[in-house]
Amino acid sequence: MTSSEEFLGFGLGLRPPHYEEILDDPDGPSSRVDWFEIISENYLVPGGKPIHYLDRIRERFPLVMHGVSLSIGSVDPLDQDYLTDLKALADRIEPEWISDHLCWTGFQGVNTHDLLPLPYTEETLDHVVARVGQVQDVLGRQILIENPSTYVGFTDSVIPEAEFMAEIANRADCLILLDVNNIYVSAFNHEFDAHAYLVAIPPKRVRQIHLAGHSNEGSHIVDTHDRAVIDPVWSLYADALRLLGPVPTMIERDADIPPLSDLVTELDQARAVAGAALAEAA
C-alpha cells in the first residue's frame, strides 16, 4: 500500500440478512465496520431490491467490488457484456477498488460458476497478463487479482503460485487481493510453505486482505467460508502484516451467516491481531 493511500480499515462482506440492521441501527454493530465488500454479480441486475439496499448502504459506507465472473484465465474471450455491466456498476457506486480471482470459470461459453485452477506456466502467465491489461483498459483503473484456493495442481506447473501472482502484478501493473485463508488452504492442499508464500509477494502490490474460515476434510481443505477464522490463519495474518505493513482487511462469510454482531466481534479480533503485529514490526 502506498503512503499516499489512506488506510481504509477493516471491512465485512455485505450480505442480505444484514441489510436492514445496517440501515436501521447505524449506532449498532455496523458502526464498527469501516467498509463493505459486495459480490459484484449480486448487483448486476436491472434494479429493485438489491439496488435499493446497495444505494442506501453506499450513502454511509465506502464499498469495494469483488467479482466471480471475470474468468481472467479462461481461453474464452473476455465477456464484454460482463465488463460493460461491471463498469456501469462501478460508475454508479464509485468503489474503492474492483477485484476478482486468479482462475477460469467456463469454456466455450458454458459457465461452471466455480473458480477453477490454472496451471502455472509461462503460457498461462502471458495469457493472464494480457487479459488483465485489457480489463484494466475497459474499467479505466487497476484491478486486484486474488490468490485462489485450489484443490488440485497441474503436472505442467513450473512457477510457484506466489511468484506467479507477483509476476502478474508486476507485468500487468495490477494489484493483489491477498487471501490469507486461501494461502493456508492451498499450502495444505499442495504441501508448500505458507510463510514462504508471503515472503514472495511484493508488499507494494497488496491492496486488500481477505480472512475466512474453511472446512478441513483430512485429505484436503475446502474453502467453505462458512465458519470462523482459525488460529493458524490468524497467525499467518500477523506474519503477513509484519511483512506488508497495514493493509485493509475484511472477513468473508458466505454461508451459515451469523448475526452481524458476531462478524463484528471477529473483525475486532482482526483489529487486535493487526495492532499487535504492526506494533511488533515497528
Binding site: 436491472p46 434494479g47 429493485g48 435499493h52 459457465n111 460458476h113 477453477l116 496451471p119 503436472t155
Partner: protein, 260 residues
C-alpha cells in the same frame, strides 16, 4: 511437453460438465489424496453449487417435492441445461419449461406452475425501476387523444395464468407454515398480476376481461382499441369498464408513461 492451456481447460471442463474422464494425466496427486479424488471436489462442487442456486430460486417447489425428489429434478436439469450467462442468477430461467417438457416430470403440471410462479416473483424482485404516473398525468390528455393513448408499464409487472393454487402455497411457505396446504387444481385458470411497489412484491388475481385488456395494453394496444375489444363482450359498458381497469392500474403504480 506442456499441454496447451486450451486443451487443459477442454479436458477439465468436459470432466465437470459432461462427465468426461477425469484429467488425471495432467493433474497431481498429493501425499494425502489422489488426483482423481481432488478432481471430484470440482465435479461435485459444480453440482452442489447449481443445486443450491435452484433451491434458492424455487424454495416452495423444493418444499413441495421434498429434498430427495427436488435433488433428482435439479440434477436432471443440471445434466441437460448449461449456464450460458456470466451470472448464476439467470440459471433457473429455463427450469419451468424444462419441467413441462421433461418426460419424467411433465405429467405433474403443478410442478411447472409452481416453478413459473416462483421465477416470476424473482423477476419482479430485481426488475428495473421506474417512476409510476399518478392521475394528474391523465388530466393533461385532451378528449380527442384518449382513443390513441398508449401506455408503458412498470418493468416488474407480469401476467401469469395458473390452473393450480401455486400462489397460496408459496405464500404459506413464506409465512412459515409448517404444513402448508398443497396446491390444488382449479376448474379454470386464474390470471395473476405480479409487480413490485418499492421493495415489496405484490400480486392479485384478475377476473372477467381485465387479463385480456391488460395484456393488450402491455403489448402496445391503444386505449381505444382496448375499449373496442371490450365492447364485443360488454357492449355499452365497455368504456366504463375500461376506465375502471385503468384507474386500478394507476392506483397500483403499474403505468409509468403514456403516449398520446
Amino acid at each position: 511437453m506442456t499441454t496447451p492451456l486450451t486443451e487443459t481447460q477442454a479436458l477439465f471442463h468436459d470432466f465437470i460438465i459432461n462427465d468426461g474422464p477425469p484429467p488425471v494425466a495432467i493433474t497431481r496427486s498429493t501425499e494425502r489424496a489422489t488426483a482423481e479424488d481432488l478432481l471430484s471436489i470440482y465435479y461435485n462442487g459444480y453440482r452442489l453449487c447449481m443445486l443450491e442456486a435452484i433451491g434458492d430460486d424455487f424454495p416452495s417447489l423444493k418444499i413441495f417435492l421434498g429434498d430427495k425428489a427436488f435433488d433428482a429434478l435439479g440434477r436432471d436439469y443440471i445434466s441437460q441445461v448449461r449456464s450460458k450467462h456470466y451470472s448464476i442468477r439467470w440459471y433457473g430461467q429455463g427450469f419451468a419449461a424444462f419441467i413441462s417438457e421433461s418426460p419424467q416430470w411433465r405429467d405433474r403440471p403443478e410442478l411447472a406452475e409452481l416453478a413459473t410462479w416462483e421465477w416470476t416473483l424473482g423477476k419482479a424482485t430485481d426488475a428495473a425501476d421506474a417512476e409510476p404516473l399518478d392521475f394528474s398525468a391523465f388530466a393533461a390528455v385532451s378528449p380527442e387523444d384518449w382513443a390513441g393513448l398508449k401506455f408503458q408499464f412498470h418493468p416488474s409487472l407480469s401476467i401469469v395464468d395458473l390452473l393450480w393454487t401455486a400462489p397460496a402455497f408459496r405464500q404459506a411457505v413464506d409465512d412459515g407454515a409448517t404444513s402448508p396446504a398443497l396446491p390444488e387444481l382449479l376448474d379454470a385458470p386464474i390470471s395473476w398480476a405480479i409487480w413490485r411497489d418499492g421493495t415489496v412484491i405484490l400480486y392479485r388475481s384478475m377476473a372477467d376481461d381485465e387479463p385480456t385488456a391488460l395484456a393488450a395494453a402491455m403489448s402496445g394496444t391503444t386505449f381505444g382499441d382496448v375499449c373496442e375489444a371490450l365492447a364485443e363482450t360488454q357492449s355499452d359498458q365497455a368504456g366504463e369498464i375500461a376506465g375502471g381497469y385503468l384507474r386500478a392500474w394507476v392506483e397500483h403504480g403499474w403505468i409509468t408513461a403514456i403516449e398520446a
